[in-house]
Amino acid sequence: MGTRIEAAIRPDLPDPRGNRFRKRIRDDYGIRVDAIRILDVYHVDKDLDEENLERCRRELFTDPVTQHSSLGPLPGKAFDWIIEIGFLPGVTDNVGHTSREAVEDLLGISFQPGESVYSAEQILLVGALTEDQVRKIASIRHNPLIQRAWIQCRADWERDPIDGRFYAPKVRLAPSRRIDTVDLNVDDKELARLGREGILDPGEDGRGAARGPLALDVPTLKVIRDHFNRLGRDPTDIELESIAQTWSEHCKHNIFAARIDEVDSLYKTYIQGATRKIRERLGNDDWCLSVFRDNSGVIRLNRDWSVCYKVETHNSPSALDPYGGAITGIVGVNRDPLGTGMGARLIVNTYGFCFGDPYYVGSPYYRLPGRRDPVLHPKVIFEGVREGVEHGGNKSGIPTAWGFLTFDPRYMGKPLVFVGTVGLLPATLHGRPSHEKGAQPGDRIIMAGGRVGKDGIHGATFSSEAMHAGSPATAVQIGDPITQKKLADAQIEIRDLGLYHSVTDNGAGGLSCSVAEMARECGGCTVVLDRVPIKYEGLLPYETWISESQERMTYAVPPQNVDGFCDLMRRRGVEATVIGEFTDDGRCVVEFEGRRIMDLDMEFLHDGVPQKVLKTTYTAPDHPEPEFPEPEDPAGTLGRMLGRLNLCSKEYVVRQFDHEVQAGSVIKPLVGRYQDVASDAAVVRPLLDRTDGIGLSHSLYPAYGDIDPYWMAACAIDTAIRNLVAVGAVPERIALLDNFCWCSSDDPERLGQLKRAARACYDFAVAYGTPFISGKDSMYNDFKGFDEDDRPVKISVPPTLLISSLGILEDVTRSVTLDAKMPEDRLYLLGTTRDELGASEYYALAGEALEGERFIGKRVPTVDADSNAAVYRALHRAIRQGLVSAAASLGQGGLAVAASKMALAGDLGMEIDLSAVAVEPGGLRADRILYSESQGRILVAVAPENEDPFLAGFEGLACRLVGRIHEEAFLRIRGADGAPYLEQSLENLREAYKKTLWW
């Protein structure tokens, strides 16, 4: 028996949430609704007397100034249609969770197991709408994977009102204690099925129901079979599931670890290999502290502090539930620095979204034939992901200080969602380097934070499989930033008291990976599964072990500190439980109800995975270099370029992320007089009483991969470095992170592209002396489904390499922004401009305008690392001497876009003479100079009185005076022949830059 409580904004006041939703429906679907009101509904699933319920309604669930409320449905609702949306059983309900805690606190009572509060949302629609329209409206607001929606018209409601019901989405599972063994001595076909679909549970109808993919291939399953045959027994289900988690592509990066042609592991050879070489060269000046062995890479900030950084992807879950996928992604990557060394404090979040066209108007695609299970529209994915990262970062109190959005139709089937977190560690803790840790035999295993449910079971193996109709909905979760915030705060307190020896996060694979990983530090572990706190009864033991329920960390706590540890956690509102003990017997043991249900050899578990052997092919693409006339309307062309999705202002997104909490912001993601222009990098001061800082930037050029993945990677590295140098980072103190998001990785041709990109990573990281400190890969970003006519469709993302850069600034008060500062400042263009427009934004624009499809061409930008590095060093010296008033890195859209941004940000016009630009021999047409994407170039403003010392630093380097800043609000460009070529007002340019992404 429970009670429903409803609260709503009073009818005489406007409802901003309703109004925003109304606008969205009109913008996206052209459906006009006269009025929308959104009500909050709480289902209190506990017997409470009227007086207490009334008290909760009044004092907790109602704002007495703006709201009215009732026990049961609110009387006098005005609507033509009513929609109510509630969660499905087992889905994280943060509002419900808070409500329950608040009721307990207010009334001084405790909820018993099975009792809870469930939140729901009610939408009242006024207007002449059809049922189809209302269904469409409901579909924007709810996701059937995690929520239920009820829809009623007024007449139906009058007969049997949906808001008269009580809805408690309680999880009910038949209690089960079975521990199965799995027979692996079966034929290859059955092994293949086992790997693809998972262990069969006996179904009620006699047929088995597959548990979900193990994502193990037949050769790997045979290695496991041989191991158990040697032991003379079958594996238990939990053993097999545990191995599948530990050996998953997600955890072991089997493709990057494979022998691939003549290369013994792309990862070891090219990524780790580059870092090893750079560190050898640095010798005693090596500033890498812990790379490629912990949850994030750690480098030195200064003598007393270190910083660590990790960038993850959360693509598959975000395709299914954009909000849940993204919030789980960002809150999840937070745990990587939290679980690095002795645990870092989280100081910056970063993001990167690759989406299809949010204005896509074509036919939808479907996961199932017969127009079933449609792929979400790119804008729905955009908004959901944006909101997930907004809530994940803002509610955690971590500034979302840097990020990007990239658009390509090929991200429509599967978006890419990158999320990163920077952490701060004291260099030493209790006399030891804080980036080191070690569980000791005898230490207790403590799990702290959230409880375990069926959430995300098979998450690690799921992301290793291409997405198809059978993808389990249990892969979708919703992060709870407040539970994690409490845990993260408490962890820092406990860390500083020195109460634990080691810590790691529970991410993919849950306990099975976190405990087993820590057990390597000492040589074994024994877990008593009965002790693990669970959300609800009925979990199978293997589920508890591999569940990916969020917001959990695992600690190694010496016995004498267990009480102190658990007591402080309790005082901070965090649940902490001893679930076992670390050992040194070389076994990973799990017990349940007094029985040993898992007993695996540690060495086999961690190192038993066979190395894959892969072959690649590579065919160089051959797209004709396009020939087209110079634009007749250069000013209009510039406006169209600035308005392109990949180049336009992302202010709409950036403002909804709190980028200033923690008070460290020095260069914000938006700069300039109106704070509406995207900067090239963010600068953050992690320690408020010091002036050293970190710079953050990134780069990716997926379109370049259509010509050559090698130069795609090289350009991304060059740009990620250049962007940081432009704001003042020390070129010798830049670290890189790689995120490969590939597609169809069983195709030798795709692997050939991968190999080329990886080799470029080695070549250019070494050339610039910028080590990789961490990385991640996601190898199967393909969508397989159907179009409206049931024809099979495969949409693969373009092979995408994100390079994230983290640089050190010695003195943040010397950093430089890209906005034009003063009239009469001289404009210098560093670097050489070449006929390198292959796969550029300009070619895309021209092709779309002339032939309805982007031009690709051949001449992709290349990178001359030695020349560029010399320019970067010279620029850094000039910045340190205070000689540079503005610097804008040239990337997509080239000189035209960088100059426009500099002018718009400073709200000052400028003139540029293209005949003064250093171009390759033979000369270039004006539009090619303006939009070439040649690397290594930076547009720099210098005060007239600083010109001489500035130029002295650039002797022998490509550095040309190309123009000056002026007071008039116009951008004026002279052509290659010196004649006037383009003139446009800043007002028009600003409108073009800002209008594309604003809704």
């Binding site: 901003p16 915030k485 901070r572 403002r655 709190d658 008070a663 007089r673 001061r685 008060t813």
Partner: protein, 269 residues
Amino acid sequence: MAVPRALVLTGYGINCDRETAFAFEQAGAEARRVHVNDLIDGHDRLDRYQILSFPGGFSYGDDIASGKVLANRVKTHLDDAIQRFIEGGGLVLGICNGFQVMVKYGLLGSPQGVVEAQRSTLTYNDSSRYEDRWVHLLPEKGRCVFTRGIEKLYLPVAHGEGKFFTDPGTLAGLEAAGCVVLRYADEEGRAAGGRFPWNPNGSLNDIAGVCDPSGRVFGLMPHPERHLHFTQHPLWTQLAEECRRAGRRLPEEGHGMAIFRNAVTYFTD
């Protein structure tokens, strides 16, 4: 007088506590971050402090309504201590979510001072959108301890529920009692007049911050603790160039410091 002690509350999703404590320290106070549970459990006591601060953040995730659940928790367990603290001459500062907590608690938003049931509220921005943006603020002359002598402020707001709202009677009462101490303005120093983006949320009468009738209890939506350094100003690189070329020294401090310094000098002067 000795250095005043400032208690900066933490826990349950409060997240601006470090920089708020830093601001009080910079201003000359001895600041300590104390978990709300440690006050409830008696591990620390409010009467050991002269200043109490409810920092910004997302207490309880803004679930149900921003600030509401933490307000209830504090009121349920610490109401006596807090009322004694205020009556005893302590200063209370609430920023952003801390302001929301204080208004929903009933510590602010009534011309009568502390009230049992909340009389004003901070509700959804008119845009219904969380936004981080910088705003110009005009302090009213009056008895508010925290805004004394401040001519203007430029600070960031970062919230989704910052619209100050109340009934006409309470609003008139607050105005008459001099409780409205901070209003949104445009860059020229004129009243924002409800216009977006100068008034970022649609607050009645452009209200950005209010105090109680004593002037010792103050809350505001903008974040003074995010403008302590000159380098936090969004246009600092521009201003730095102007200073350099005019031969002036670069300022080191941001506008927000004045608020914290006022709190400290209230006890030390």
